[in-house]
Amino acid sequence: MKSEISKGETMSDIFDPMSGIRVLDVSDLKGAYCTKVLADQGASVVKVEPPDGDETRYIPPFANDKQNLESSLWFAHYHANKESITLNMESDEGTNLLKQLVEHADVLVESNTPGAMDKLGLGYKDLSKINPSLIYASITPFGQTGPRKAFEGTELTTLATGGLTFESGLPDHPPCTAPAYMSYDFAGIYAAAGITVCLIERGLSGEGQHIDLSIQEAVAATTDIMIPAYDNEGLELTRNGFTNTRLEPAGLYKCQDGWVCFMPLRPTQWDAMVEWMDNPELLQDPMFLDMMKRSENSDILKPIIQEFVEGFKREDFLIQAQERHIPTTLVNTIPDFVSDPHVVSENSLIKTEHPEIGTIHLTRPPYNVAGKNSFPMNPAPLLGQHNNKTYGELLGLTSDQCATLKSAGTI
């Protein structure tokens, strides 16, 4: 199956509801996932970077451990399918250029401290006067209003203030933050959904809106039952390793050659496990009668299940558990994942050629339309790669004019 974009093949062969939508992305890493999912669905996303490049270009690891502005692998991941222009938004000429670009945009995504864009004359109030149908999405650690709106944040602190870190890890260890950029990705998918709601609404009203996305709130909305359980019964869901106490003894177990995630939660799944273990006492003992009792007595159950599981090689265990419809997966390391048979069969990682760093693999857009699950992915742009194209097509600037602006430090 072809996986690289070629002449004539366009994103519109796939699922491209955002085709024809132009997005100006002046955000940093906090807005990256939002504009990534828009770009993956056909939006024309122009990343507006400071002349020194977006902060993500400086984040390791770098391809072949050689750091330069084009080699950050997280940049390559987040900014595939986007274009890049440079712009110094702190200068008067720069803000002027942005205002002109806004006339041609449907969406603007930003992540500056609340108030900063207003100071530059680029707030929602200002830009909606220029383009009343503009959808202006602000993604920040604590949102546009409230006593903490101007607080600084990073992935570590936004995940913590959202409540996810509190419930993560082991009771006798400090809480453990998540790898990668979970809180930013949560905020990003919420923002993308919000932008689409606004696009639908704009189709009826003709007007844009300001989207206020607090990363803290996006995280808090993912903390499962933690908040309402506390409000309802005063229950504080503290750290308990992989499995919530009420779901034990489901969880992680060791096979001969690695770990599996084994979740026989429903009565039919539990009964299937008991039959498989050929241990009728488990079925008859009132201590293990239902989910609640099994959770109360999980300290007795876990070693029994562990002893059963460790007799298996994990791929055998996986197949036999799934034959019995018991939710089970392997605990994959990263090398395990890239060679996982499902990943290979479903093109989960798409090979792409990047002009500077060569062959890379990008996660595919996670959906199938009309039976297609392979999507052409364009590599992330070089810094300012589309200056001439964008300033030329949208503002009528010649490449000489662009060169002048570049030496003046405006772009």
Binding site: F151, G194, A220, M226, Y230, V260, P327, I334, S348
Partner: protein, 392 residues
């Protein structure tokens, strides 16, 4: 329940939810929050497992309520052909079908895309499942936590000194997939405004989660380096971590992003000597010394509350934030100022606070219109008012 007169952006959209548990209903909830008329179909013999197994408590489930505000509920036994006809009639006057049953179930209910698109060519349908409908693991039985172990997330979500996988008890793949599912549904509806055509989107939740780990997969494939768990540390920032504060199990997160933050940080914690040390003036220097720095920082934070540390550091422009639990979140002045906690009234339960809607829209904000529905609560109303069916 107070409702505003403001028109909601999705008030012209009717959604049929053939969903259960978290992901499907979570996707429907986002659309319902913005005004879609969302109708969930439940089996009267086997209501949503999220309600729990005890019949007397099935209309009083906090977990169910978490995912099902602003919706209507019909109880229909879909094994009866007359009810399949009713469902088909509903399809003919609806815009979107969301489902997250096991692959194959919709076919058995005569609600697969081939069938319903013949009834209504402009219907948009979104199928959400753990591993998708195809591939060696398509049709696998899957819960949210299974997907975290499959993608490699669980392996990486750990302190480096622990030699067994831990991860987190969160069900967040389900929550992430719910919003992604809503995004896909909204995209289908938006596309239909231009083309008039519906479409069928089938989305595996596992791959949604994997799309957050792209840098790690590339690190292995490109650099032949295996990413390892690093706990609360950073590969490129120091100091960076979670530190114990005054009180039982109270922690604060601190991240010094750059040299400018470092100068502010040294002032904030009264370590003027550090600010002058050339060995600490760069990130690489601080990374080398981070264990020493961390123990000094730890002895500073443990004398103060998590909020004191947060506020002091923030006053110097340094990112810091409490590791908040449910108590801290519900009492938090900031989220309360923003009215984020929504008290959901319910005919059979005391009002319970839940998260509101993170998407804040300036002109057409979300509204709380309906409490979580009881089993079959709106069956009669829908049969009578929408479908003009005689309930006998």
């Amino acid at each position: 329940m107070k409702t505003s007169k403001k028109k909601l952006p999705l008030s012209n959209i009717r959604v049929i939810e053939l969903t259960e548990q978290g992901v499907g209903p979570g996707a429907g909830k986002l659309l319902a929050d913005f005004g879609a008329e969302s109708i969930r179909i439940e089996s009267p013999q086997r209501p949503d497992g999220m309600r729990g197994p005890i019949p007397e408590r099935q209309n009083k489930s906090v977990l169910f309520n978490e995912f099902n505000r602003n919706k209507k509920g019909m109880a229909l036994n879909l094994k009866e052909s007359k009810n399949q006809n009713i469902l088909h009639e509903l399809v003919s006057i609806s815009d979107l079908v969301i489902e997250n049953f096991s692959p194959g179930v919709m076919g058995r209910l005569a609600m697969d895309y081939d069938t319903i698109s013949k009834i209504n060519p402009s219907i948009v349908m979104v199928s959400l499942s753990g591993m998708g409908h195809s591939g060696p693991f398509g049709k696998f039985a899957i819960y949210g936590p299974n997907l975290m172990t499959w993608s490699g997330l669980t392996h990486l979500w750990n302190h480096p000194d622990i030699d067994f996988p831990v991860g987190s008890q969160t069900y967040h793949p389900d929550f992430f997939a719910a919003i992604f599912g809503a995004y896909l549904a909204l995209g289908g509806l938006f596309r239909r405004m231009a083309t008039g055509h519906g479409c069928y989107i089938e989305a595996p939740e596992g791959e949604m989660g994997a799309s957050s780990l792209g840098g790690f997969y590339m690190q292995y494939l490109k650099n032949k380096q295996e990413p390892q768990p690093i706990g609360n540390k950073s590969t490129h920032m120091a100091p960076h971590g979670i530190y114990k504060c005054k009180g039982k199990d109270k922690w604060v997160s601190i991240a010094v992003r750059n040299d400018k933050d470092w100068q502010g940080f040294c002032k904030a914690i009264n370590q003027k000597g550090w600010a002058k040390e050339p060995g600490l003036s760069t990130a690489s220097g601080r990374l080398k010394e981070q264990n020493k720095l961390d123990s000094k920082i730890q002895s500073w934070t443990k004398k103060q509350s998590q909020t004191e540390v947060t506020e002091i550091l923030q006053s110097y422009g340094v990112p810091a934030g409490e590791v908040m639990g449910p108590k801290e979140l519900l009492e938090d002045a900031h989220t309360n100022h923003r009215k984020f906690w929504t008290k959901t009234e319910h005919p059979l339960m005391k009002p319970i606070r839940m998260e509101g809607q993170p998407i804040g829209l300036s002109r057409t904000p979300w509204q709380l219109r309906l409490p979580p529905f009881m089993i079959g609560e709106h069956t009669e109303e829908i049969l009578r008012d929408l479908l003009a069916v005689d309930e006998s």
